[in-house]
Subunit: 399 residues, 2 copies
DNA sequence: GGGATTTGCCGTCAAGAGCAACAAATACCC
DNA sequence: GGGTATTTGTTGCTCTTGACGGCAAATCCC
């Protein structure tokens, strides 16, 4: 695969990079005028015009009549991504596989939650995805150009080949998910960890928009995962396993704060313990947040404060090492943070090196239940966005 | 011919990038043939020829007669960086300021340790540097082209303006070191944290050569600092404070392992505690290593094992989050690791997520006492290497 | 010494971004 | 409502600079 980077030295590489820049802008910022594209890219008017028409010819963007604006001067046509360019986003969970078609405009076109009454296997997942595509092809996706498939898997995924090394709750071990889905769908497929993709989504479209250095932590029923963005780039690490905050061991200064013998973050800061303290077997996130906020039981406040303290230490460690400008918390960690934001801020400030915490913001994730699908779609779009010309070689036709 | 094209094609700097690539190769790999440059860059023969002669004209590289090789075919001239292109590297410490001139070939040309009998101030540092340059100008540096100054400061340095926010041992607070040194020397100056620059040096020329994802930790007399390289790039974070591992709080599972009330890594894993356990007030690193290795006192082994355990947890946390392929340990952490590498490996493997630790290597830093100077020099060379043409606007005074 | 091989050198080509002049479309002022 | 200013698309041209190909040079091997 000839990546753009390989050819950066050539003019061809420049051209491709410019195409990529334009497409990415239209993708991330939504429809924008050609005039804004020129100022945003720093390229010449005529260059942008040529590039835009090239993208139109490639079927990747559309040019519309200018939006009515109140400004002087000739109105500039609006460039928007082509709505027919889409990917399939997949999120297998213990009780269901969610499949969606997502447009290049990051909008979800179709979304279906396919419930299963047993633990889904990798093969079943591939079949479910292929089945959904086949069904949608006859209606919602008629005439749509599918670029690829992206999967958000709750487990550790090897970046190089999309092998799911271990997904404890799905009970998948060394599952060749990428190959299976590619075989079943005929579409180029990418697989990654769900929390990492959540970080990607929040970075591009959520609470982390425009922030170049951030840490994202998500609290799920099964544990804590996350991702990091450094200099605007999502960090995968050597093999793609980066972001596993849940298995970290943060310092616990007071012995009374320790609950789990091993002191792993996700055993100490856990949704199950919150449910337990309010005496519920299960609850969705808003319900849990409501219960926690309404409770006057001191044990509830104690537990929340304890979890905040430990989370603060884990965050402090990350802040010292990465010096991010933003921390985004999702899932029950958002609930935990919002229960008493000031206390969390103070605890983090106390646990991190003062200069590293300067100007740091802690925010709650913005994207809702579609976060993982958006992230998975982004993964599937990545190649196209990086090099809009490369995709033309592949013929993405599926019955 | 081939005079510098001042009319910089407002083009996307393909040309500049290619010049940069060539110069960086010559800088990092040492002298290499033009033929190797072509294969390494993927550029055309004629293109490389043009670029190389341009770099020669810029006075940045030299072309020599071909090295005698035993291979068939016309021999290719050797391209080597110009020995007269140098920077000044500076490392202020509590009892001395080390100043050196470092060539673009990463060789140290002159090096002087300027002892001081009191805590050196930022102003004094600038004066000492300027004085050294003035002295050297008359001999070692006659005719040398100085590109800039790089400082490795043991403290937290704000990336944007080179302000030393806090250097506890030097007792500097908000010291405008960059401005002071620039004023005193007339040379463009860069400042960064010493451990971060150590990471840079080890990454480019030491134990981390060719590794794209690594974590570097250095144990000094005063604490533990470090740096991280992600996708081949040194991570600074939002403001440049990244890498402060020493202030992290790792989990300490056994209460008996805790020594410091606050549980900060550098209070638990500390050179002072090692010196104490062998009953010495001070010792240089080889001496300390010898004493530790020779001791049969069980208390020594206990302390070493304890520090290894805690270090392993801190490393495990970093591994889970960053999934590096290499960890480089310097200073007394190297001593600690080498005392029993297998035990450390095992402890790290036990503390990190198995997949994240797969294929992980733990190595000892390779560069010796010149590490910080090399790193500081690299910092000073960075702008030139990134864009060899930009530097031409500045006329660095000579003689 | 001849053939093979590799590489430098030079002239030519061409991709593609920049540029400038002109035209078009709007707002604003009178 | 018409003239002017302003912004931006369009078009044809220039120019930089990397690629290409033929030829010469320098080496090794037989």
């Amino acid at each position: 695969m000839a990546s753009v980077v390989d050819r950066l030295g050539t003019f061809d590489g420049v051209h491709r990079r410019n195409l990529s820049k334009l497409l990415a802008l239209a993708h991330l910022e939504g429809p924008l005028s050609r005039a804004r594209l020129t100022s945003e890219t720093g390229l010449n008017r005529s260059t942008v015009a040529a590039l835009a028409t090239e993208l139109v010819d490639l079927g990747l963007v559309e040019e519309r009549a200018p939006d009515p604006t109140k400004r002087v001067g000739r109105p500039s046509p609006v460039v928007a991504v082509h709505p027919g360019v889409q990917v399939i986003a997949v999120n297998p969970e213990v009780d269901a596989v969610t499949v969606a078609a997502v447009g290049l405009n990051a909008r979800i076109v179709v979304r279906e939650r396919l419930e299963v009454d047993h633990l889904v296997t990798p093969d079943e997942t591939a079949e479910l995805v292929a089945g959904a595509i086949a069904r949608w092809r006859r209606a919602e996706l008629a005439g749509v150009r599918l670029i690829g498939v992206g999967l958000a898997v709750p487990g550790q995924v090897r970046h190089s080949d999309g092998l799911v090394r271990w997904a404890p709750h799905l009970e998948w071990t060394d599952a060749p998910v990428r190959a299976l889905v590619e075989a079943a769908t005929g579409l180029p497929t990418q697989v990654a960890n769900d929390a990492t993709l959540g970080a990607r989504a929040e970075h591009l479209f959520g609470a982390g928009r425009g922030v170049d250095d951030l840490v994202y932590l998500n609290g799920g029923a099964s544990g804590i995962g996350g991702g990091l963005v450094v200099e605007g780039r999502l960090v995968g690490g050597a093999r793609g396993y980066a972001g596993e905050f849940g298995q970290n061991r943060p310092g616990i200064s007071s012995a009374g704060d320790r609950r789990a013998p091993d002191g792993v973050l996700e055993d100490e800061v856990s949704r199950a313990r919150l449910l337990e303290v309010v005496g519920r077997a299960s609850a969705d996130e808003p319900t849990l947040a409501g219960l926690l906020a309404a409770s006057e039981d001191p044990a509830v406040a104690d537990e929340l404060a304890r979890q905040q303290r430990i989370l603060a230490t884990a965050l402090g460690n990350a802040i010292n090492v990465l010096n991010p400008s933003l921390i985004v918390l999702g899932g029950f960690l958002a609930t935990l943070a919002e229960w008493n934001p000031d206390a969390l801020d103070a605890a983090v400030a106390a646990q991190a090196l003062p200069v590293a915490a300067e100007g740091l913001e802690i925010r709650v994730a913005e994207l809702g239940e579609n976060r993982l699908l958006i992230g998975a779609a982004e993964l599937a779009f990545a190649d196209l966005l990086a090099d809009p010309l490369a995709e033309q070689l592949v013929d993405p036709l599926v019955g």
